[in-house]
Amino acid sequence: MTTQAPAGRPGRADSLLPWAIRLERRLEVPRWLPVMTTIGAVIVALAISGVILWIAGGDPIQIFVHILRSSFGSLGVLSDTLVMATPLILTGLACALAFRMRLWNIGAEGQFLMGAWGASAVVLVPIVPAGTPSIITIPVMMAAGMLVGAAYGAIPGILKAFRGVNEIIVTLMLNYVAALWLAYWVNGPWSEGGFQLTAQFPKEAWLPRLSDFSAAFPAFSGLTVHLGLVFGLVAAILVRFLLFRSRRGYEIRLIGDSPRAARYAGINVARNTVIVFALSGALAGLAGMSEVSGVVHRLQQAISPGYGFTAIIVAYIAKLHPYGVIVAAIAFGALILAGREIQPSGIPAMIQGIILFCLIASEVVLRYRVRVERRVA
């Protein structure tokens, strides 16, 4: 009895041609290969998306050009792109950090919302009296957003660390809980005039924007890029330092590669699980704070078009590297911005899925190498 090998199975020769196409395990991975594979995967994904757009009746080239123009075409739209990218940088960092330790934080969305809530509470309760200058209000809001986000992130961390509970389900469930929590406050105690949003924050609670300085720099007028972007860039630098130059970062990378070796090396995996989840939550919470304080200036139900989920793809494209996250976040900021105008509305989500698929499929290139040999008859 013979066994039939399904297509694409490594190690099986194609018996029809005079050459054998073999896939053999790589012994070494050239340094340039991971980057090239990522770029290649994105290109393939865009090509596939183009085909789908064409089937849906659109003109893919025109759509892509439109995306580029409406994201990078002028200073004004570039600013809008950066505004979109800001929360993605922070949530992307949150996911990248957690994924480095193989902690699947799918809850960045919920942590984002809770951070937004925490920051809003500073102004709406109020925790800081009205009229307090920005120099105090803003840092307090930042702290609140990060603390609430960290606490919310610590929940799945603790459950995973001490009970081995699957963090994917917990973080997902907590996303829904966070959305409902927000809905309660926005519809109930903090509701403005019975509508589904709160009162607008006082000016002291607004993150400064470039357009605030348009008196001194006329070129800045109309640019809504806000201080949140700086948060993101600084966070990226700090996370990079953490991962590659600190003891904690060494532990994180070791646990991510081999939890058993980490335990053998005396590392407290449980404690690191909680810490990393809390840090991840803090970053996402800061993203939430920066969104309500820098863009919307109030709390409302719809403050995230799925930043927490897009962040997963951003982190993956960046190969979990903090600086790569910045680049990927800007690219996806552009995609989300322009994607708002694409009909039908599900296409951007599909494109995200296709990109992720192509990325993980492309990793096979890093593990195997194609060899073509002449067959011995």
Binding site: T3, R26, L27, R247, D257, S258, A261, G266
Partner: protein
């Protein structure tokens, strides 16, 4: 002069001609010829890495040869998978068993068979299998789940799997590596009776002593080639075989300074611990290890060795008893605590526990010292110091890697072990816990590991050497303890150790194994 009676040659069960098999970076089989007569036990001898397992994996259909042909009972065959081999009457029992731990013996044996067609009525097959087992002297309870069985019993299940499928040619890969001397003797008896019944057996081994006992003919391999084809075993000597296996002076002369043991470093008193399954694994173990001495712990796999190493290094809780290193309690502490007390651990599992495969050589070398100066500064890790440290160790211990940035999964087994030993020794251990340190290594690497262990002994460390290789223990240890079912059932000075007595203890006091006269206590492992 009477004419010599013509003895007809027995038919050839298997013929392998010109087998070539390449892997990335190495030619495992380089034009190998091999044949197996019906009704014989043919030993395939060679050190680790010689290519014997690869050759048999080609025969068994697990690998496809790059060149060459195979004939089974005179017919040319091309196996695409082990299933084809089984259909042709060949069955292989590997070193690492391919069993499903959560399923019963019967279920394991039935996997992949055409019968039963759809409905699985285990009960009926239980009896069939029990009968088959009894017939061949391989007693095992068909209803037991694999995880409940001892290693020796699991091996019997593997053999039964093949016999149930009508295998007439049995290939055993290092079968005695996991058996006590008594169990090995039982296995040999079973093989002899199978062969008397017409089966043929290929017996892969690196142990010279047993080859003489069991094999009719011997083929020796070295570095992918055959150095001696099908010599009748009666015509061999251990020394001669050893020379064919290795191309340098064979017997590892271990020079040992006489024992000068100092004060007690490790003291264990009445330690009890459970295994992962919740069954008792250590039942009241008490022992001392002194500085400057190596205590060998001999035993068959699965008698508590893993758990012993784990309680000493903080990886397992003990439910009773105390463990102290230099009078400081380390029992029921974290691994970090034991590291702080200068307990070094060379673990059983090099790739899964001892190293992180995708991290660099440097990152792996600092695993134990990344919190201490000079590697660590106040808030960060000094990457310059890391490189210097790693390069120094790389040179001192001859770790063959292109650079300290190379990912560790690309290293060979021997180099991996050098890395682990370098790291552990660099931590200036007071107690060194070494578990199966030379498993799967080639002769050169084994010699290096032994030398490093003896150097540590000379430098005053206390070492506890847990190994299933009795020859290794007898070569290195000052004292030998025997562990059986979680208890220490014997403690001897190495000079007075009697291999027969130890073998007896290893199996809980069964009838003593037949001692092989003249077998060297020190051999190429």
């Amino acid at each position: 002069m009477t004419p010599e009676p013509v003895i007809p040659e027995p038919p050839l069960a298997v013929e392998m001609r010109g087998i070539v098999k390449r892997f990335p970076g190495v030619v495992a089989n380089d034009g190998v010829d091999f044949d197996l007569r019906a009704g014989e036990v043919h030993a395939l001898l060679g050190e680790n890495g010689a290519g014997k397992s690869t050759l048999m994996n080609v025969l068994d259909g697990l690998y496809r040869a790059d060149a060459g042909e195979i004939l089974v009972f005179g017919r040319r065959v091309e196996f695409r998978s082990p299933r084809d081999a089984i259909a042709a009457g060949l069955g292989m029992v590997h070193q690492h068993f391919a069993l499903v731990p959560t399923q019963t013996v019967t279920e394991n044996i039935l996997i992949g068979l055409a019968r039963p067609r759809f409905r699985l009525d285990a009960g009926r097959y239980d009896d069939e299998i029990a009968d088959l087992a009894r017939l061949h002297g391989l007693a095992v309870d068909p209803r037991a789940r694999i995880w409940q069985l001892s290693v020796g019993e699991q091996q019997r299940v593997e053999i039964l799997k093949m016999l149930y499928r009508g295998a007439r040619i049995l290939i055993l890969d290092e079968p005695t590596a996991v058996l006590a001397p008594q169990e090995a003797a039982d296995l040999f008896r079973t093989l002899r009776s199978m062969v008397a019944g017409g089966a043929s057996v290929v017996f892969i081994s690196h142990k010279l002593a047993e080859v003489a006992r069991i094999a009719d003919r011997v083929t020796v391999m070295r570095r992918g080639k055959v150095t001696a084809a099908a010599i009748p075993s009666a015509a061999t000597t251990t020394a001669g075989l050893a020379r064919l296996m290795v191309d340098r002076e064979v017997l590892e002369t271990i020079e040992r300074t006489p024992s000068s043991a100092g004060p007690v470093v490790l003291a264990m008193r009445d330690v009890e611990a459970e295994s992962d399954r919740g069954l008792p694994a250590l039942r009241g173990v008490s022992l001392d290890v002194r500085s400057g001495e190596i205590l060998g712990v001999a035993g068959v796999a699965g008698n508590g060795q893993s758990e012993l190493a784990q309680v000493l290094t903080g990886l397992r809780r003990c439910s009773a008893g105390s463990i102290t290193v230099n009078a400081v309690e380390v029992g029921n502490k974290t691994p970090r605590d034991t590291i702080v007390q200068h307990v070094a651990h060379v673990p059983e599992d090099r790739t899964g526990v001892g190293t992180a495969p995708n991290l660099s050589v440097a990152d792996n070398l600092i695993m134990k010292c990344y919190r201490d100066a000079p590697v660590a500064r106040r808030w960060s890790i000094d990457t310059g110091a890391v490189r210097r440290f790693a390069n120094r160790l790389r040179e001192t211990y001859s770790i063959a890697a292109p650079s300290v940035d190379t990912e560790v999964r690309l290293l060979s087994g021997g180099n991996l072990q050098r890395l682990i030993l370098a790291r552990e020794i660099a931590s200036a251990p007071r107690l060194l816990v070494a578990v199966q340190p030379t498993r799967g290594l080639d002769v050169g690497a084994i010699a290096t590991v032994h030398r490093l262990l003896l150097d540590q002994r000379h430098a005053g460390s206390a070492t506890i050497l847990i190994s299933e290789d009795l020859d290794e223990i007898l070569a290195l240890a000052d004292r030998v303890a025997v562990i059986y079912e979680g208890r220490l059932v014997g403690l001897y000075d190495a000079a007075e150790a009697d291999i027969g007595e130890i073998g007896l203890r290893m199996t809980g006091g069964a009838t003593p194994p037949v001692a092989e006269p003249g077998a060297p206590l020190v051999s190429v492992a």
